[in-house]
């Protein structure tokens, strides 16, 4: 169960819109925010591959200036499949 603590930073004026975007992302829980544009979130995914994908998705959002991991727990990781199949992208 990969779980990470993440600080997502956006422009203060984009805070609400960014939180709405994050609310729509499966695996993201928003725990708090401040008026400087920092959003405290937890990512909870089934596999580490999903964790990376989620981080990439959040970083790719034009509203997001930076998503920084502060904590990462990877115990009981479910094995990812198909790493070498070339089909997962």
């Amino acid at each position: 169960m990969p779980i990470s603590g993440v600080v997502i930073t956006t422009r203060p004026e984009d805070l609400d819109q960014t939180q709405r975007f994050l609310a729509a992302c499966v695996g993201v829980e928003v725990h708090g925010a401040d008026d400087q544009g920092n959003i405290v979130a937890v990512f909870d995914t089934r596999t580490t591959g999903e964790m990376e994908h989620l981080l990439k998705t959040v970083n790719a959002c034009p509203l997001v200036l930076h998503a920084g991991i502060t904590y990462l727990n990877m115990e009981d990781v479910v094995d990812d499949e198909g790493l070498n199949s070339g089909t997962f992208r």
């Binding site: 725990h31 708090g32 937890v42 990439k56 970083n59 200036l65 920084g68 727990n73 070498n84 997962f88």
Partner: protein, 796 residues
């Protein structure tokens, strides 16, 4: 309500994130039902870029299980990037090299052999080459990822023992232009300021750096500064729009290779509008021109930049920049309370790399945007110890430890005396730099090479050419590494090395900060620290060549255990004997001091008492830098005591726009530029073995501007053939409003034969720094098919 372990972990994660940014959550750490694990955390630094993030390695039952940031760390304030979070997985990786491997011929299969035999073979091969062909027939090629102790000991054995300066390292491919720029402009290598200036700057000029991906933790600090202070200006100058551009007030997108015009035009605006700092120029500055650095004057400089009008430069830069853009950024640069420039490979990996560095420094010198809070001309470093080890401890062919030029007899004699070897032992001529070293292999001049912790078979430009030489049996090739790489495929002897946290030593990061990482984990199998390998090899070399001077080189280190006492003795010799009175004076920075100073120490730090304050945050400023006081020659507050400028002045250089080595033509109509992606480190021998990072970017791709894609009928994901005069790659396309029209951009980490972009890049290099122009060459591109599934590839 019972708390599950999952809930506990989520709360821990949320609190960790909240604590880094001061957000209050309706949770308190003491309310958590701590599920205590038998954990221990070991302090160290990250090894996957030049930022020098402080982190801790987590151990459970004697086995590494995590890395974490530390909230009060001065470099990273607890943040780590995904590479930093994950590299612990290399420690116990099943593909680690565990025993020495040998084959007499490169066509033979490898066989496991004992260390005794391996070291004997390594010594015999080097000794035989020296006896038959002279000292310059052997070479050492190191890395900005080696610990300082490793670089120092290898170069000592090569120079003092084997009497050759054929010592170079992969920082030649990334930082040599920055070295040349700093020496030429400031008289001293490495930045004047520190990361602490980021929080004080009022204007950032980020040029030739995708900081958001290559130095993500530093980018966070820049971004935070901008968001907290919207009046702070961020200028991003780059041929490619990147994640870094997102925070820019102004993005200057120029045609590759035209930035010298841009920089001269900014200087022109500053002079025209009288925004320069006349008092600073009068007190501290000289003007120079030509190859020999002939004297010039301010008037001559003003006349020199006069033709670089904003209008002319905008035209040269390719039409996406207006003259008013140039005027505006020049004004921001000159008039802010503190301007900080940051650059990386986009400036350094150029045929005019030194000149480009000089022209950035020119702007700072001209405006006095130096030496005060928030102002600096700050080159970002790519590797964790390119500065501390290679630049400072003698890892380049022309520089001895302590920033001493090889060609100066007095400098050589100081080193010889410190080592207790006969005067004249170190050759007077600089050795072969990286490109001449591998050319030398192709030409049969190098008969034995030791490649330590780097993979030139993939990282050299135009690598097909140099791999021909490496593939022959004419040059006996030794590799020390933790995993197999594209280069170990050309080795005769592979020696398994200990990894970070499996050995003890110092890294010196971008801001002159030295940090100690101690051994916390046993290396797998028979892997050994390089300092042990080098010492044992030298012992055998001395016997085979019957040369007591080689034995003398390792005499101070005989019998010391390799996990702590040996690297400590090497560090002590280097710092106490060879940095005294030098601009990187490290005499106060003992292992004991580094153990006490969690964030390490910035040089110069001549005394222990001063080192225990953290060292020098700003060089050359009296009251901050102890050497500015001890070396003071007058009443002025700034003292430029750097070794390269006898006049103790900063130099503004008259440098013209000059084209890159190769520009597009009818046959090869596109520019190609290359760079790093956030998830991978260099040639991905480490990050490619970490599933989380491999998944994030399992193969390289090429970015192409939508307008170019439309013209060529290329759709997202289509397979594209990229061909230069040197080689071809086949890569999937990412159609993206990133590169400027007429330019494609590819990532260089991929090991797969058809996706190694350095088969395509050009190997021409800066005539002064000898750093190759990875960043610019001419290519043609062709769609060859629709999207195809691709398999990640790692050498096994």
């Amino acid at each position: 309500m019972a708390q599950t372990r999952r809930d506990f972990l989520k709360m821990t994660a949320a609190l960790s994130a909240a604590s880094f940014v001061g957000v209050q959550l309706p949770l308190q750490e003491q309310q958590l039902a701590h599920a205590k694990d038998a954990e221990a955390w070991h302090r160290g630094t990250c090894r996957l870029c030049g930022v020098g993030c402080r982190l801790e390695l987590g151990m459970k039952d004697g086995v590494p299980f995590a890395l974490r940031g530390v909230a009060d760390a001065r470099t990273n304030y607890g943040f780590l990037c995904m590479k930093g979070m994950h590299f612990w997985q290399c420690l116990g990786h099943k593909e680690r090299l565990k025993k020495p491997l040998y084959r007499a011929k490169k066509s033979d299969p490898f066989k496991e052999i004992s260390w005794d035999k391996a070291l004997d073979i390594a010594a015999s091969q080097f000794a035989d080459a020296v006896k038959k062909n002279g000292p310059n027939s052997v070479a050492y090629y190191g890395s900005g990822q080696c610990l300082t102790e490793e670089t120092y000991l290898f170069q000592k054995i090569m120079r003092g023992g084997l009497q050759t300066n054929n010592v170079d390292g992969n920082p030649r491919l990334c930082m040599a232009s920055a070295v040349g720029g700093y020496l030429g402009s400031f008289g001293a290598d490495e930045p004047i300021g520190s990361y602490a200036d980021l929080e004080k700057a009022h204007c950032f000029f980020i040029i030739g750096s995708n900081t958001a991906e290559a130095h993500p933790v530093l980018f966070r600090r820049i971004m935070r500064r901008k968001l907290d202070n919207p009046e702070v200006k961020v200028i991003n100058a780059d041929p490619r729009v990147s994640q870094t551009s997102r925070i820019a007030d102004k993005h200057l997108q120029f045609k590759p290779g035209t930035d010298l015009s841009l920089l001269n035009a900014m200087a022109n605006v500053i002079i025209e509008e009288k925004l320069h700092d006349q008092a600073f120029l009068t007190n501290y500055v000289a003007f120079k021109q030509g190859k020999e650095g002939q004297d010039a004057s301010f008037e001559e400089y003003a006349k020199f930049v006069a033709p670089y009008t904003p209008e002319a430069a905008a035209k040269t830069c390719g039409g996406k920049i207006t003259a008013e853009d140039i005027r505006q950024v020049a004004r921001w640069f000159a008039t802010s309370k503190g301007t900080m420039s940051l650059w990386c490979m986009g400036i350094n990996q150029r045929k005019q790399g030194v000149w480009a560095n000089n022209l950035i420094h020119n702007l700072h010198i001209l405006t006095g945007q130096l030496l005060k809070e928030g102002a600096d001309s700050f080159s970002l470093t790519g590797q964790p110890n390119a500065c501390g080890g290679v630049r400072e401890a003698g890892g380049l062919c022309h520089i001895l430890p302590g920033h001493r030029p090889v060609e100066k007899e007095k400098m050589r004699n100081q080193v010889e005396e410190a080592w207790g070897v006969p005067l004249g032992r170190i050759p007077a001529e600089p050795g072969m730099h990286t490109m001449s070293m591998f050319t030398g292999i192709n030409e049969g001049k190098i008969k034995a090479i030791w490649i330590n912790c780097t993979s030139p078979a993939q990282s050299l430009p135009n690598c097909n050419l140099y791999n021909k030489g490496l593939a022959t049996d004419d040059c006996f090739t030794i590799c020390t590494d933790i995993f197999k790489t594209r280069t170990t495929e050309f080795a005769n002897l592979i020696l398994p090395a200990a990894f970070h946290f499996e050995k003890t030593g110092v890294y010196g990061c971008t801001e002159r900060r030295q940090q100690l990482t101690r051994k916390a984990v046993k290396a797998p199998g028979e892997a050994k620290p390089e300092v042990w390998i080098a010492r044992e090899w030298a012992k055998r070399l001395a016997a085979k060549l019957n040369d007591p001077v080689i034995a003398q080189c390792i005499k101070p280190f005989e019998g010391l255990e390799e996990d702590f006492a040996l690297p400590q003795a090497i560090w002590d010799e280097y710092t106490q004997k060879l940095t005294k009175g030098r601009d990187n004076d490290l005499r106060g920075v003992s292992y004991a001091v580094l153990a006490r100073m969690a964030d390490g120490v910035q040089w110069p730090a001549p005394t222990e008492e001063f080192a225990l304050t953290g060292g020098t945050a700003k060089k050359f400023v009296k009251g901050i830098d102890p050497m500015a006081d001890s070396e003071s020659k007058n009443d002025l507050p700034y003292q430029f005591y750097g070794p390269a400028h006898e006049d103790r002045k900063l130099w503004i250089w008259l440098r013209p726009q000059a084209d890159p080595s190769e520009i597009p033509d009818a046959e090869y109509p596109f520019y190609l530029s290359t760079g790093r992606i956030i998830d991978h480190w260099h040639t991905m021998s480490m990050t490619g073995r970490i599933p989380e990072l491999l998944r994030a970017n399992p193969h390289a791709f090429v970015e192409i501007n939508p307008k170019d894609a439309e013209k060529l009928g290329i759709k997202p994901g289509d397979m594209i053939e990229i061909t230069s005069r040197r080689g071809t790659n086949v890569l999937p396309a990412k159609v993206y409003e990133g590169p400027i029209e007429g330019t494609v951009f590819a990532y260089w980490h991929d090991q797969e034969a058809n996706r190694m972009i350095n088969k395509v890049t050009k190997d021409d290099y800066d005539p002064s720094a000898k750093e190759p122009e990875f960043k610019i060459c001419a290519v043609k591109i062709k769609r060859i098919s629709g999207p195809k599934p691709l398999t990640p590839f790692i050498v096994s």
